[in-house]
């Protein structure tokens, strides 16, 4: 397992340490703090019934931000439903992520120039699509890569194997990140597979595989940065397993983690908290302060408020609009139903 920072924020693997400027290091911390606040606010908004589906991310910041920080703005991202933070940092507006959460179709309209698929609901479907996106980029002669995310449960799906195998066989620029957060809802990782690591599953696809400490932003960044370089250099895909932990429930839709894990276990993982560890590292270098952090917290809270306002001002979607976006050309049945629903909507 690749690890660069220990739990006290000390560098334990000097020769693997990525070459990042002070500003970049601060930027990673900034993004992790901001993401933690977004998560806390989303959980709270969810409990108030102001959001729709939401999958908490606290505990996974190093895995999410560390990996995403290593890809370029022009690269593609194929996220699972929990991977909203990476999408946000890729240019997906926060208010649209809330619309997605509420099931509003406008949440799926990526802004022009944001190379991203809509968060995937079906476990593993993004993995096979990633092989296609990567092949498309290769065929167009682009130097972009595609990064995709799933969890430990996703690594059990057939699509996980098919996608990695295709990407390997076609030798395309893809990065597969499995965020092993220890539980697929309630099923622990050790019941998910008899393999010692998920990273070793890369061997079967003939691609690179690496397991990293997913609570260590520097390690995740270093592994992803190397994977990206390999992809751009034409050396094919990489599978990265990030060992991490989600502090919250699987989603806000009724999951109760106390039914399948202990508070001792939670405490054990919280000792490795990615924010605490990185904060110590930056403080030792004189690059971080409580004041700086508080500014980020306030900014994130203000951004959430503004985004919620925008969402609450967005008109409710109409069934007639949903009919209209079924495809480019509306067939007979939909044209007929469109008229019916327009009439229904105008009479209300």
């Amino acid at each position: 397992m690749l690890q660069i920072l220990d739990e006290n924020g000390k560098v334990i693997n000097e020769d693997k340490k990525p070459d990042l400027s002070d500003e970049q290091l601060q930027d990673i911390m900034y993004r992790m703090v901001y993401t933690r606040i977004l998560d806390q606010r989303a959980v709270s908004l969810g409990r108030q019934g102001r959001l729709g589906f939401y999958a908490p991310v606290a505990g996974q910041e190093a895995s999410m931000i560390g990996s995403h920080y290593a890809v370029d703005k022009e690269d593609w991202i194929a996220p699972g439903y929990r991977d909203i933070p990476q999408l946000i940092w890729h240019g997906y507006p926060l208010w649209q992520s809330y619309l997605f959460s509420k099931g509003h179709y406008k949440g799926g309209q990526m802004p022009e120039g944001v190379n991203a698929l809509v968060p995937q609901i079906i476990i593993g479907a993004q993995i096979v699509q990633t092989a296609g996106v990567a092949l498309g980029l290769k065929k167009k002669g682009k130097s972009q890569v595609v990064i995709t995310y799933t969890g430990d449960g996703g690594a059990s799906q057939g699509d996980f194997y098919e996608g990695m195998n295709f990407a390997g066989a076609f030798h395309v620029p893809a990065i597969f990140v499995v965020q092993n957060n220890q539980y697929a809802i309630s099923v622990p990782a050790e019941e998910q597979t008899a393999a010692d690591t998920i990273a070793q599953k890369a061997v079967a696809a003939g691609i690179e595989g690496i397991q990293v400490d997913g609570m260590d932003a520097l390690a995740v960044y270093a592994a992803t940065q190397k994977a990206r370089q390999n992809a751009v250099d034409g050396n094919g895909p990489t599978l990265i397993e990030t060992l991490c932990y989600r502090y919250g429930p699987h989603s806000l839709s009724g999951d109760d983690p106390t039914r399948y894990r202990t508070s001792e276990e939670d405490d054990e993982w919280e000792k490795r908290d990615p924010l605490v560890r990185f904060r110590k590292y930056l403080e030792d270098k004189g690059l971080w302060s409580e004041e700086k952090e508080n500014e980020i917290v306030e900014q994130a809270k203000a951004d959430v408020k503004a985004a919620m306002k925008e969402v609450e001002e967005t008109p409710r979607q109409k069934v007639s609009e949903l009919i209209e976006i079924m495809g480019n050309e509306l067939p007979y049945n939909l044209r007929e139903q469109l008229e019916e629903y327009r009439a229904k909507e105008s009479s209300k």
């Binding site: 479907a125 699509q129 296609g132 996106v133 092949l135 065929k139 595609v146 295709f166 480019n328």
Partner: protein, 325 residues
């Protein structure tokens, strides 16, 4: 014009579009060097190169995902599923992903994908090769389901499917691949999707069919004509969505309808059409809408398929019962 079998017309359509648009890609299992298990893609890799026409690893869900990813990066994929029975492996790709791409991204992304698959009975294939699964496919909003019955239609409909920005499930009846020939223009031409075709005009009864059953319906119509019963034969060509205008107009003229499909009776295309006719034209009917179908079993092993599959005699019998009602 040239005489072509249906499979030649299908190959010709793909050649036409590979030539016409460099973003058209063709891939699947054995489609490259080998030219497809039915030779539908014969010669295309040689003509257009391995970058445009290529083999994939053996994994249908992977093929579907590949098509979706290539679609969003600007390509126009034609993906082949070797036999319809293998479609279950890629149902998420079809129903869960490509058919709803436009919808869930609010029109931001499309799936300009053509999914080709051979289907249909009467050629003694193993189980899970010939099944008529078009009714299942027709349940997917956002996906068109096209089934040609002649070489001419096969080419025009396939070109339209490839050019469509929405996904099309294009089913090729195995029995029709080489059993009939027809005149096909060597030029690029299109046939509108969602439009049925009247393959034979008649005034006494309407036969609504698609795929190989169009030919059984035509044979039945010819024999009935000897008894002075003139059947109109509608070839649906697109089974989802169906062209109800053409059907209802015909039923209003003939006042009787028999819906014919090779598939099992339960649910499916014929059931939907029967319901639509009842809702839209009941007062024009002189008899209940009849259906000619296979029984509600799984597709049988080859030794039973001759009896299991409906044929022109079943259609004649049902037509006479409808007229005598």
């Amino acid at each position: 014009m040239a005489e072509m079998t249906m499979i030649q017309a299908i190959t010709d359509a793909m050649r036409t579009e590979l030539k016409n648009d460099e973003d058209v890609l063709l891939f699947g299992e054995d489609v490259g060097h080998y030219g497809g298990v039915f030779r539908a893609t014969e010669g295309l890799q040689k003509e257009f190169g391995e970058a445009r026409v290529f083999d994939t690893p053996l994994a249908e869900s992977g093929i579907g995902g590949l098509a979706i990813g290539l679609g969003v990066t600007g390509f126009r994929p034609i993906m082949e599923i070797q036999f319809i029975g293998f479609i279950f492996e890629v149902m998420d790709g079809l129903a869960g992903q490509m058919s709803r791409m436009h919808y869930r991204t609010g029109g931001y992304y499309d799936s300009p994908i053509t999914v080709r698959a051979p289907f249909g009975g009467g050629v003694k294939t193993p189980e899970l090769h010939p099944d008529s699964l078009e009714g299942l496919m027709a349940q997917m909003p956002g996906m068109r389901v096209v089934i040609p019955s002649t070489p001419y239609d096969a080419k025009g409909l396939l070109i339209s499917s490839i050019r469509s920005d929405d996904p099309v499930f294009y089913l090729e009846h195995m029995k029709l691949y080489r059993s009939l020939k027809g005149e096909v223009s060597e030029e690029a031409y299109t046939i509108d999707l969602d439009k049925a075709d009247i393959k034979r005009e008649g005034k006494d009864i309407t036969f609504i069919a698609y795929g190989a059953m169009v030919h059984s319906a035509l044979k039945a119509a010819e024999q009935l004509s000897e008894e002075n019963i003139e059947a109109e034969v509608i070839d649906l060509r697109t089974v989802s969505p169906v062209d109800l205008d053409t059907i209802i107009e015909s039923v209003k003229k003939t006042n009787r309808a028999v819906v014919i499909q090779e598939a099992q009776r339960q649910a499916g295309v014929a059931a939907g059409i029967s319901a639509e006719i009842s809702e839209r034209a009941i007062l024009h009917l002189e008899a209940p809408v009849a259906r000619v179908t296979a029984p509600d079993t799984v597709y049988p092993f080859a030794s039973d398929e001759d009896i299991w599959l409906p044929d022109h005699n079943d259609i004649i019998e049902k037509a006479k019962a409808t007229i005598d009602f």
